[in-house]
């Protein structure tokens, strides 16, 4: 989010579409995410000219070409670093980073971590498809153990990174999850934009060519109720049409699923979602799907001062009362004057 939101402007979805032909594979989950973003932008009310989409390299990183905003398709993994320079140079811009699991967590993991830790005011959309798409299907840092791919013909052996847990561990003040075709995605994006600071959004995205339907187990419309836990601020963590919920096992200090009888979730000990509770957020991002439903929506949201605001504040304070007299600066330090009579201090 950003100050520019005050200069609201009425736009429509069409205003956010470029004339460029979209070049993702037919059926790619990226199309749905693009539409969700283009649909969300008019609701947010920012002006296209004050909006910048910055990406790295990969399928997801083609995103800026399709947004009628300013856009910068940079180099592999480094989008957060470009965004940092851009935002420090002009804090008034509304900056969106588009990255993927390989771009943002493998080659660019370091930058993602530092952007989050510094709390630069921007939205980071990490499209997680658990595969390298653009390089034709190698396993990625989020691929599940045993993923067979051109580079792991016998199955991958390394354990995957968990994007939301990574972000929270790096100090994120906003962590959310959504998936490409979800109707809730625009709401998640709006919440991310409304958060002042680095807002990390993991978006599960279906790569229909190299990792088709890898998220079907929870994303499929059929049975979604039982497998998706949509978190809402101030509401009990219920799913399966309110027949199940998430409770805290106070003795073992971990979450557990409980049955809710006759809607009496209090009796079942179901937790009410508090987006500012960091301890619970740590448990939510670690919640294993299968044993638990997939936690979606805004998992954590508790803003603190942003990096660029602190930099601007410090720069101003340091410059206060000083004049930018460069000629004077050149004369600073150990100087002496040479006259006809010789040098003197």
């Amino acid at each position: 989010m950003n100050e520019m939101t005050t200069i609201a402007r009425t736009t429509t979805l069409k205003d956010w579409e470029t004339d460029q032909e979209v070049r993702w594979c037919p059926g790619c989950g990226d199309y749905a995410i693009l539409k969700a973003v283009q649909r969300t932008m008019p609701e947010i009310g920012t002006a296209p000219e004050n909006t910048v989409f910055i990406s790295g390299i990969g399928c997801s990183s083609r995103f800026p070409y399709y947004m009628e905003t300013y856009g910068f398709h940079t180099i592999h993994g480094r989008a957060p670093a470009f965004a940092t320079g851009l935002k420090l140079a002009n804090p008034n811009l509304d900056v969106w980073i588009v990255t993927g699991d390989g771009d943002g967590l493998s080659i660019g993991g370091n930058h993602t971590m530092h952007l989050i830790r510094r709390n630069l005011d921007c939205q980071i959309m990490l499209f997680n498809n658990e595969i390298y798409g653009l390089t034709k299907g190698q396993y990625s840092p989020t691929s599940r153990v045993g993923t067979t791919s051109p580079s792991t013909p016998y199955g991958s052996v390394d354990r995957p990174a968990q994007p939301a847990a990574f972000a929270l561990g790096a100090g994120a003040r906003f962590v959310a999850r959504g998936f490409d075709v979800s109707k809730e995605l625009p709401n998640v994006l709006k919440a991310a934009h409304a958060h002042k600071g680095a807002a990390f959004i993991e978006i599960f995205q279906n790569c229909i060519v190299y990792n088709k339907d890898v998220f079907e187990d929870f994303a499929a419309p059929k049975g979604a109720e039982d497998r998706q836990l949509w978190l809402k601020q101030g509401e009990p963590m219920l799913y399966a049409k309110g027949t199940k919920g998430i409770a805290l096992d106070a003795e073992a200090l971990h979450l557990k699923t409980v049955d809710v009888v006759d809607g009496d979730w209090q009796a079942a000990g179901v937790i009410v979602h508090d987006v500012t509770n960091r301890s619970v957020a740590h448990m939510l991002v670690e919640m294993r799907f299968g044993e638990f439903p997939m936690a979606l929506g805004v998992l954590y949201d508790d803003p603190r001062p942003t990096f660029e605001a602190d930099v601007v504040r410090q720069n101003k304070a340091a410059a206060e009362g000083k004049t930018a007299d460069l000629q004077g600066l050149l004369k600073k330090g150990q100087t002496w004057t040479v006259t006809e009579g010789g040098p003197e201090l």
């Binding site: 180099i75 004369k331 330090g333 002496w336």
Partner: protein, 620 residues
């Protein structure tokens, strides 16, 4: 070169002349760099011209007394123009056995050794790998030796101030400085003022240091009549009247970048990552907030350059700086700046390589990296500074080219320039022509073309936030004019040609001959920090009647248009470089001239004598 406070009985000595080389050497913790720095100021106030060479280890606090923990500071000062820190010292101040062992081989025969014999105990001798005490065994016979128990003399001098043993011994460098000031007939008052200011919070410590300084000076006065210690006065050098200051290369670059940004009327964004010997530039700039400078210490070298490019994209002057290994990491991002045609200044303070190499030693071995070191056909202007003062001018020039041609520019300096100090006539900024940047703010006649070009082939610079000019840029090949993604064969050919033509077409000043004339028997062609030794060597050889000229190249890429003809006007061309022949290769490639290499990669600058020998060899 001269001998100074040495006994002239030794007939191997050249007669006393107008320049003296003094080398202070001690343990890393002995404060030799500080001593050297203050002696430098004293030389400036005495009106001498000077050049300095700080030579310190990569280790911050190397184990005390060891050979690799020796830190040295050399200064050459005189009453005529000084271009180098001097070949061989006339005076060596050795604060311990290790300092003696590592530095005495360079001392001139007959030169003076001042050694702190208080430190020549069995333990320190063993650490320096001496079997016997060199102060006693006659092994230093070809030099003059003055043994003083500086440690004890310092302790005695500061006794009234009640310092602890360790603190008292820390004043040793001021005792040594006091003696040095006496040796060269210098005024102590500026140093006393400086000490009082430095230790303003601890007047007792200030007084102790002043006492040590005075005691060293008094020792010289009383000891003069006996032994080798003599006072020597070096007359002021004839320099133009005006305001002077000492300037290191790192300061020159920082100030030049600020001046360049002001002349371009741009805020500056500096993205850096700590690396020796480039960090000093980040340190200087981080204190200059009132000059519209934002500094950012990034998480790595790649983020440093990427953040700078991001800032340039936003409409600031993006600058990044590093040394060879860090520059290697920045390579891909430089390619993006070339592809997206955004202005950027990249400063490379070169050090010994490859890999980690010699972090605190100097070398010029990144020329290939600067000119050729990127994937694809990625032409980029390269400028090389020859001295700390020249670094100021080169930084302004780098900014000018970057914004006038929308291109990244590499500015080469090296560890020697970065740390060395020289007197600098403070320039009058009103004499510099401004080159204010004009951003594109509205759709021009004929429509907006993000990759449309002016007569210099420069594309427009548009700040995000500008209504009506929304566009996307990136590293994929661009379509001519529109900047849309385009992989077509003809388009890539045309865009590659445009990028090359733009850089080739950059206007750089014609190459001048520094000393000598166009045409003749021999040209000594240099670049960067070899300026000093080449200049002095050519001057001396010309004084002896040799037909030799000095050509020093600032614009490494693109090269000055007259350079080929100039080089061909000499019978022979030699190229001294602190690498294995990189500029030589470029000159051969560009002009088919038979440029002969003269190379040195010891981590130390060329001596004048080495260049003289190369000139003699070439003229045989």
């Amino acid at each position: 070169m001269a001998t100074a406070a040495v006994d002239q009985a030794d007939k191997r000595q050249s007669p006393l002349s107008d320049a003296v080389v003094v080398r202070f050497a001690g343990d890393s913790g002995d404060g030799m760099q500080l001593t050297g720095g203050q002696f430098t100021l004293s030389s400036a106030l005495a009106g001498n011209d000077f050049a300095t060479f700080p030579d310190f280890p990569a280790e911050i606090r190397a184990p005390q007394g060891t050979l690799f923990g020796v830190s040295a500071f050399q200064i050459n000062f005189g009453s005529s123009a000084i271009d180098t820190a001097g070949d061989a010292p006339d005076v060596l101040v050795a604060m311990n056995p290790a300092a003696l062992k590592t530095n005495v081989p360079q001392l001139k025969p007959g030169g003076l050794i001042i050694a702190d014999e208080g430190e020549f105990n069995d333990r320190n001798l063993a650490k320096a790998k001496y079997d016997a005490n060199p102060l006693e065994d006659g092994s230093l016979a070809k030099w003059q030796l003055l043994k003083l128990n500086i440690s004890q003399l310092t302790m005695d001098a500061v006794k009234p101030f009640g310092l602890g043993n360790k603190e008292a011994l820390r004043c040793k460098n001021m005792w040594t400085l006091g003696l040095s000031l006496w040796m060269f007939d210098r005024d102590r008052q500026p140093l006393i003022d400086w000490l009082n200011a430095k230790f303003a919070k601890d007047p007792n410590l200030a007084a102790a240091n002043v006492a040590a300084l005075n005691a060293g000076h008094a020792y010289g006065e009383t000891a003069e009549l006996a032994g080798p210690l003599k006072q020597h006065h070096v007359d002021p050098a004839p320099v133009a009247p005006g305001l002077y200051r000492t300037l290191t290369g790192a300061e020159g670059i920082a100030l030049g970048l600020v001046a360049g940004a002001q002349l371009a009327k741009l805020p500056m964004f500096f993205g850096g990552y700590p690396i020796t010997p480039a960090s000093a530039i980040l340190h200087h700039l981080s204190r200059l907030k009132e000059y519209d400078v934002t500094t950012f210490q990034a998480e790595d070298e790649i983020a440093a350059i990427c953040s700078a490019i991001g800032a340039s994209y936003a409409g600031s002057l993006g600058v990044t700086s590093s040394s060879g290994p860090g520059i290697a990491l920045k390579g891909e991002a430089m390619g993006l700046a070339i592809m997206t045609e955004l202005p950027l200044v990249i400063v490379n303070s070169q050090r010994g390589g490859p890999s980690t190499g010699l972090p605190t030693k100097t070398e010029q071995s990144d020329l290939y990296q600067a000119v050729y070191g990127r994937n694809g056909d990625a032409p980029m202007p390269v400028i090389a500074a020859r001295s700390p003062g020249d670094a100021f001018e080169c930084a302004i020039e780098a900014v000018r080219i970057a914004v006038q041609y929308m291109t990244p520019v590499m500015l080469l300096t090296d560890g020697y320039i970065a740390n060395a100090a020289e007197p600098w006539a403070v320039p009058d900024l009103t004499t510099y022509e401004a080159f204010p940047v004009e951003f594109l703010t509205e759709v021009p006649e004929g429509g907006f073309k993000p990759y449309g070009r002016d007569e210099k082939l420069k594309r427009p610079w548009v700040k995000p936030g500008t209504p009506g000019l929304l566009h996307r840029i990136g590293g994929i090949e661009k379509e001519i004019d529109t900047g849309h993604i385009n992989y077509a064969p003809g388009n890539h050919q045309a865009m590659t040609d445009i990028r090359k033509d733009k850089i080739d077409g950059i206007t750089v000043p014609d190459q001048v001959v520094e000393l000598g004339a166009e045409g003749g028997k021999l040209a000594v062609v240099g670049w960067g920090s070899t300026f000093g030794p080449i200049h002095q060597a050519v001057r001396r050889k010309r004084a002896e009647g040799a037909d030799v000229s000095h050509v020093h190249i600032r614009h490494i890429w693109p090269l000055p248009t007259n350079l080929g003809e100039l080089l061909k006007s000499y019978d022979k061309v030699i190229v001294p470089e602190m690498n294995t022949g990189q500029l030589k290769t470029v000159l051969r490639d560009q002009y088919l001239v038979d440029a002969k290499p003269v190379n040195k990669v010891s981590g130390q600058p060329f001596t004048i004598a080495e260049i003289e020998a190369a000139i003699e060899e070439a003229l045989k």
